[in-house]
Amino acid sequence: MNPQLLQVICFYAFGFVTVAAALSVITLKNSVHAVLALVLTFFSAACLWLLLEAEFLALALIVVYVGAVMVLFLFVVMMLDIDQEKMREGFVKFLPIGLFVAAIMLAEMLGLIGVRAMQAHVMGADPAVAAGVSNTAWLGRALYTSFLLPFEIAALILTVGIVAAVALTLRERRDARYESASQQVKADPNRRVRIVKMAAVRPDESTETQEPQP
């Protein structure tokens, strides 16, 4: 089979799954099913990126979003006690607002695509292939040389985000009891248990207690 043709078939197959899964995220009634559909969307998007030979981005998407972020998301959604019927109650009431927002978003996206199309320039060859190294190696070299400052700033912003999230949600409870692990490790068995050594004694014949007769 022609490899180019196979690639096109794969592209449409992955693209179809991506779009179908993304649609089911917003149409499925059960919220856990919706989250799993979102996972499938991310996974098929990663497959599409693999077709583009952007292997680092594709695998990073799976490791970060599928493997960590969505697991926590699923976790939270499973804990929620959602009444499915109530969720659908306001559907008609909020439909006009929803359609309005959707129309604005569609117009904005079309505008963006139009502007991009006007300024379109032909993409050069894949720089990683041109340099003769793997996609990951090329990306690493670019990030840590030409784009070091933006990269470090992004890292700093993310760290600030983590610290802020922890600071916002951390509520220290005064009434909770904790055991200090380091103190537990330092526990000395000699202070807990005393082993007593004593000579074995034979019960005295004369003082032997009488077994009660049944």
Binding site: V32, E55, I62, G67
Partner: protein, 342 residues
């Protein structure tokens, strides 16, 4: 056309079968070996009735599980309940695609092998969470929650350990990582020596990732019956079992490949026959690591949930982060010699 079809479809499928079938067989024998070792450590006999020394016990268990009824609990989510065991098993098998068995024996010599490995192992947790939620059981949901928190926490420590290896080897390709450990000094050239703390952290994190004792709070028979798979029976349970043991064997192989020189011989090449590398060396190392899983299980009592979280976040991750810098300095000052492979 036919020639191409054979080359592109039939040959890879044969290769895949050549990996998966021995793996399933290894899981069966590993289960037998586990029960035997635990028996010896408890001064018991272990299985000894079926076949010579009881070696056929595992196969008898498989047959028993396969002919049992799969029960669907009331109000369980039917689709996800049956999907969960498959979701658990597929990543556990798919990850073997990039594992090199010797310098030329590998299904896919991918450049981003380590990343693929991380991606696949991080997806295994979905099987557990979905199983816990879909069975409509409190015990199962509690087990799934514990497992998810534990796997995510230890994945971070494990990822940082892999970063140390990558810094020294300078490659994401598992074959090149093993080749980077080659050298004239044999066992002293492998990465376990410069990365000793990280090596220990990696293996303990691997034990925690696979939800094995002493980190098996996800199952916790004494508290939550059997955790996420409490409602599963028959072949659905067998798939979870297979996935768990396949991941244990995988962690053993990876510890051997990343830190203990893979298929390289521990003796200098000048020692003739035993100085040559090859698949038996990798098998022997992986066997020793998988034996340690059983040894841990027979030796240590189960960790408490908060102790697991403390160990992962407050001990392992800081040490691993510090060692990333140490590994960088070792690489920068050329303290670790990197082999190029034969």
């Amino acid at each position: 056309m036919l020639d191409q079809l054979i080359h592109q479809l039939v040959v890879p499928i044969l290769y895949i079968l050549a990996i998966v079938l021995p793996l399933v067989l290894a899981v069966a024998m590993f289960v037998y070996w586990e029960r035997k070792v635990l028996g010896w450590m408890h001064v018991r006999m272990g299985p000894n009735k079926i076949g010579p020394f009881g070696v056929l016990q595992a196969f008898a268990d498989v047959v028993k599980l396969l002919i049992k009824e799969v029960i669907l609990p009331t109000k369980a989510n039917r689709f996800l309940y049956y999907m969960a065991p498959m979701i658990a098993l597929v990543p556990a098998l798919a990850v073997w695609a990039v594992v090199p068995f010797s310098s030329s024996m590998v299904l896919s010599n991918a450049n981003a092998g380590v990343l693929y490995l991380l991606a696949m192992t991080s997806m295994g947790v979905y099987g557990i969470i979905i199983a816990g939620w879909a069975s409509n059981s409190r015990y199962a949901l509690l087990g799934a929650m514990r497992s998810a928190a534990q796997v995510i926490s230890y994945e971070l420590a494990m990822g940082l350990c892999l970063v140390c290896v990558l810094v020294l080897a300078g490659s994401l390709n598992l074959t090149e990582i093993v080749n980077a450990q080659a050298g004239s000094k044999g066992i002293l050239d492998w990465f376990w020596l410069p990365l000793l703390p990280v090596f220990v952290i990696y293996f303990i994190s691997g034990v925690a990732e696979t939800n094995r004792a002493p980190f098996d709070v996800a199952e916790g028979e004494s508290e939550i019956v059997a955790g996420f798979h409490v409602e599963y029976s028959g072949s659905a349970f067998a798939l979870f079992f297979l996935a768990e043991y396949a991941s244990m064997i995988l962690v053993s192989f990876l510890a051997a490949i990343l830190f203990m020189g893979g298929w390289l011989s521990p003796f200098p090449a000048s020692w003739g026959f035993i100085g040559q590398g090859g698949f038996p060396w990798l098998l022997l190392k992986a066997f020793l690591f998988s034996f340690m899983f059983l040894w841990f299980r027979a030796t240590f009592p189960r960790y408490r949930y908060d102790q697991i979280m403390r160990l992962g976040w407050k001990v392992f991750i800081p040490i691993a982060i510090a060692w990333v810098f140490v590994a960088g300095l070792m690489k920068y000052y050329g303290l670790v010699s990197i082999g190029t492979g034969a």
